[in-house]
Symmetry: C2
Subunit: 260 residues, 2 copies
């Protein structure tokens, strides 16, 4: 009897060409699929791995969730050890749970939490170049705070989706957005919690909110941008390096953070 | 009239083959020398850059210090801007100061401070793989604390120097060593402050102190190791990824930290 597993993953996205398999590219899905099949002694047909969603090249994860079925059951602690023994150092399995066959890493999601960290300095700290987005212009976080309520709730986010999106609908619900300044680290951190996000949506929202913080856009201008349903109205996309998939929520677990 | 400059540098050592120029390798000295000569419009003879000392491949710096002479004076703030505009992203000039011709980045040093950060987890956090040394065995920091006083002071550190050292004398003075546990981050951090350090000395001392913390060596065993003057007695070298050159001190500045 096969057994389904839910695995929570962290990865440093710097040296991955994103989550999804692509020909001749090093991707999280490709590395993970290879390791899982090796652990199961390369069965035929091969085991497929299902992620909660894609992350782009350079985007990081503290809590990406995937599922797969093993032909023979392995106790969860042993599987956690086997995965981490075989993973490259920029990938880590944080938790392995045996789940029922009706669990699906993508279709069972209730919410996702993303974090975006901005380095607000003239030149970027060498140690943060791959782990923050860099914005060198002055930021007034109060202005950003004023704009946030207009993005929270259920909206058509067509103005905030990249052209490559294959979503049937651009309507999504954002439960909460926060922004916090860390003056000692010269950082501004956003958190986005929502039902799900469109292709590049978080990075486009961040770029737009940074323009608000710099005074290039008015804090009350976002309802017009949403209503326009026009990607040209938001324009910029913040760099991948600042984005972290923090948690993916499922029924019966409101927050699966703090795993390690 | 030429003008001498003292520059404080940060660099992420991950993608450098160390500080010192080596044929066909990307080193800090090589990148820096090229940029400085470009800024000065490639004079003949070329401008040479002098560092406070070498750091190995993978070793980081928050406060490496170098000096060089420009044939024509450039105001310090302009030079800081020029350097950072031309540096790769894994290198940053934190401070530029005009100094007298008798200042020498290497020969004028009064002390150096190194930090070593250990990840004490079974598997290394993907985000720390290049920025900490990994030690997976249990550590008792109290045992390490007991051993530290025996390393502080003036000693012949022959037992703690790598075979490649070209130093004439292995006698050095360590002013202070501290160790701190950060349980939330699963990290143990060492700080070493001394007159100067031999090749790999800090990394060999860290590896030895970790053996003390794990109970593989007794806390009172280090005087014997020092007295033996035999590299075979210390044996291990902690990974380069955990080591940071924090500050280099000169006369009239006891601590040149907190530059940025």
């Amino acid at each position: 009897m096969s057994q389904r597993y839910k695995v929570t993953l962290a990865y440093d996205g710097t040296n991955f060409a994103g989550y999804q398999v692509q020909p001749r590219q090093r991707t999280v899905e490709a590395v993970l699929t290879k390791v899982v099949n090796q652990i199961a002694k390369n069965p035929v047909p091969a085991i497929a791995v299902f992620g909660s969603g894609r992350t782009d090249a350079g985007v990081h994860a503290h809590g990406q969730v995937v599922h797969f079925d093993l032909p023979k059951r392995i106790p969860a602690p042993n599987l956690l050890l086997a995965l981490n023994s075989m993973f490259p150092l920029d990938m880590l399995a944080k938790e392995v749970v045996e789940v029922d066959d009706d669990f699906h890493a993508r279709f069972s999601t209730h919410g996702k939490r993303y974090r975006y960290v901005v380095s607000n300095t003239q030149f970027v700290d060498p140690f943060k170049r791959n782990y923050t987005g860099h914005y060198k212009y002055p930021l007034n976080v109060d202005l950003i705070q004023q704009a946030l309520p207009d993005l929270i709730g259920t909206h058509d986010f067509t103005s905030f989706v990249a052209s490559g999106s294959q979503a049937k609908s651009n309507v999504r619900t954002i439960y909460d957005i926060t922004v916090q300044e860390n003056p000692a680290a010269h950082e501004v951190t956003f958190e986005f919690y929502g039902s799900g996000f469109l292709y590049n949506q978080v990075r486009i929202m961040v770029a737009t909110l940074l323009e608000v913080g710099n005074g290039r856009r008015l804090p009350d201008s976002l309802p017009d941008v949403l209503a326009a349903k026009d990607r040209e109205r938001a324009r910029e996309t913040a760099p991948a390096s600042g984005l972290y998939l923090e948690t993916v929520d499922y029924e019966n677990n409101v927050e699966n953070s703090e795993l390690s």
